[in-house]
Assembly symmetry: C2
Homo-oligomer: 411 residues x 2
């Protein structure tokens, strides 16, 4: 008998009538003899509204308390889906992260899964029940509720799929799948039917809504992820190891698979930082210890014992980072600090680029011809990223999408 | 160092600004060097709104799923109160029922507490933390979340007070305490400063808003309960063993302590039921097994092998009870079944009545003189109850309140 793992996001569970529709979808699988394990996010914007409540009380609520607070969102959606299945005469049971055997580290608010003991899940499946697991949460060795951070339910789903050794993990969302670019920015964006883990990892890190940890986990355990809409009939996008093998001829020719964008970018530039061994390490160590996530770092080569250092971070973290720098030992070593919080990232992504020269040059030329200024450049083997002004993002995305032959009618 | 257990009901936690006020109240206790354990209900009408969501999906949701769903309400309020205390620089920690060591039976939706292991509570108190416990919930031996039913947080509070061996349990609510009658029905109702457990048990069973199980537990473990308003400065009502000892002279003279009322009463009368040994037992056993709560039973003496049997129940359960009777083996033994669902209960209550004759006669005469028809009479040692028409309830309550010298200016 086949076993399938499905994850439904918050928009796919946003109200009672939509929860009933999801139940019907699962019912038809169950009636066809498939065993189903479902991972759920919190309904609609529940998580945001709980965070808002806490922030009305305190600017820095305890991460432990926040985890218990936020974990309730998934408990509610999992029980309601279970009740909806029962009302269709389908036996079902909801399990909390803890009951599902999800053990995490103690890092509240951004815990990592250490292990999954799927005993209870298997027991319930044996009783022919649909098992519905509250995503985004687990329990630490201290028996404290933990949450996995934003997008954590994706990670739960892939981890559960891995622990149950299923062939695939299905992720249902409010879009048709993974696109060559954000369709809100680039109307000609097209659906990617297949995409490699590595490519998706770059998309996920650079704007597309999927938790990079979920993709890393899927890559490690070789679990293909099918991302599709919970409402439309689109076939969705398969994220897998072998995307290359299955590519259409059109797609093989095109080594750029998509454009990733992110308009939530701020930058700090430190001029004339004393260039001693260990300076960067302690600087970024300090920021990390205060939970500021630094994204990209560029350091120019040193002249006269001084260097210029730039790094990007999310806009809301800019002020905190500046305060930390100001109060740190580095303050006296710094000539000037410049900041910008109106930036964006744009990247071209594709595993096929890695052994082929000329992509970077073509990207820079395209932006340059349109008078779009490039603030920073960061490249990896399968990605070339430019930091540009936020106001240039849409035109840059459309130009690059056309230039790299990604438009709908060009493929 | 003194230790105090406080419970805050839903109206005392209904929004963020009220939660902040409760935190300030606890802060002053903490600053005065008192250790505090707080039990919380869900915010405002959270529980009702979760029930409503479930009922939009199913008329008979699984009690197990409902328990997980409803338990989230108290998790939210306990974490928010903890965050509010932290923001006042008071160390605090929220504990779920399970983390607080509350072990219950497996009876979902109306679980009973089997035991409390207060180890974690003591550990957190030792760390000088205010401990905030999610009321109304526990965990079964099967490691399933259970809830204690309506008013369950009162029971949690008393059980925790008993397990911590405190001198008193404070219950904060939206009224000033226990009154001689429902002030909405009887404007001259007065606050009772002291009341005996046995008397309160009768009040609680007959309309006043407190969980009878909490009072039974307090009586067993001899924990006085102080019920008071979370907003006013009223001294509240002390429910204790020794109410008699502390009574004022005026109160000693008056052996009726209060009037309890309940307008949620339906009645079933079975005419000419075959009067064999065991008939009542199996009839009420059957109703109990289907979770219909029968409240009062009156059976007339048998004539010719047949008897008339009447019993009361809550209005919403009338239809279910009739269906059960109709489908049962008793159906063929029943000549006619009569029902009424427009009834009310009115009781006079007082431990002093038990050895003093004349109270019943006075009650019946007062109602009779006002042309109020009595449908059923039930008495216990410290309570005399009449079932009357709902439309007569208010005037009956006011007449008896005056007749038994309970009016404000009479005491």
């Amino acid at each position: 008998m086949s076993l399938i793992v499905q994850k439904y996001g918050g928009t796919s569970l946003k109200n009672i009538s939509i929860i009933k529709k999801v139940a019907k979808k699962i019912q038809s699988l169950n009636l066809a003899g498939t065993k189903v394990v479902v991972i759920v996010s919190a309904m609609g914007n529940t998580t945001d509204s709980l965070i808002k409540k806490a922030h009305q009380i305190s600017k820095n609520p305890s991460p432990r308390e926040m985890d218990i607070l936020l974990s309730t969102g998934e408990l509610v959606s999992s029980t309601l889906l279970s009740i909806a299945l029962n009302s269709l005469k389908i036996p079902a049971i909801s399990l909390s992260g803890s009951q599902a055997g999800i053990q995490t580290d103690i890092n509240h608010g951004k815990a990592r899964i250490n292990s999954i003991n799927p005993k209870r899940i298997f027991n319930e499946l044996k009783k022919n029940k649909v098992v519905i697991i509250a995503g985004f949460q687990g329990t630490s060795l201290l028996e404290e509720t933990t949450t996995l951070g934003r997008g954590g339910s994706d990670t739960t789903a892939v981890a559960i799929a891995a622990s149950l050794n299923t062939d695939q993990c299905e992720i249902y969302t409010d879009v048709d799948g993974i696109f060559t670019a954000d369709p809100r920015l680039v109307p000609k964006a097209q659906l990617l039917h297949q995409i490699a883990f590595e490519e998706m990892l770059e998309f996920a890190s650079y704007g597309a809504k999927m938790d990079p940890r979920a993709i890393e986990l899927a890559m490690t355990y070789k679990i293909p992820i099918l991302v599709k809409s919970s409402t439309s009939n689109s076939l969705g996008s398969l994220i897998s190891e072998d995307a290359d093998m299955k590519k259409t001829i059109g797609e093989i020719k095109n080594k750029v698979r998509g454009i990733a964008t992110d308009n939530n970018v701020a930058k700090i530039t430190i001029r004339k930082l004393k260039d001693k061994p260990g300076t960067s390490a302690s600087l970024f160590g300090l920021l990390a210890s205060e939970n500021v996530s630094v994204e990209d770092i560029v350091q120019n080569s040193s002249t006269g014992g001084f260097t210029d250092l730039s790094f990007t971070l999310k806009k809301p973290e800019l002020q905190q980072a500046l305060t930390i720098l100001k109060n740190s030992q580095f303050n006296s070593n710094i000539s000037t600090v410049e900041t910008a919080n109106n930036l964006a990232k744009i990247s071209i992504i594709g595993t096929g680029m890695q052994n082929t020269p000329g992509y970077a040059a073509k990207m820079f030329r395209t932006l340059g011809n349109a008078n779009i200024n490039i603030e920073m450049i960061i490249t990896s083997e399968i990605r070339i990223t430019c930091i540009i002004h936020e106001s240039d993002l849409q035109s840059a995305a459309q130009l690059l999408h056309t230039e790299f032959s990604l438009d709908k009618n060009n493929s």
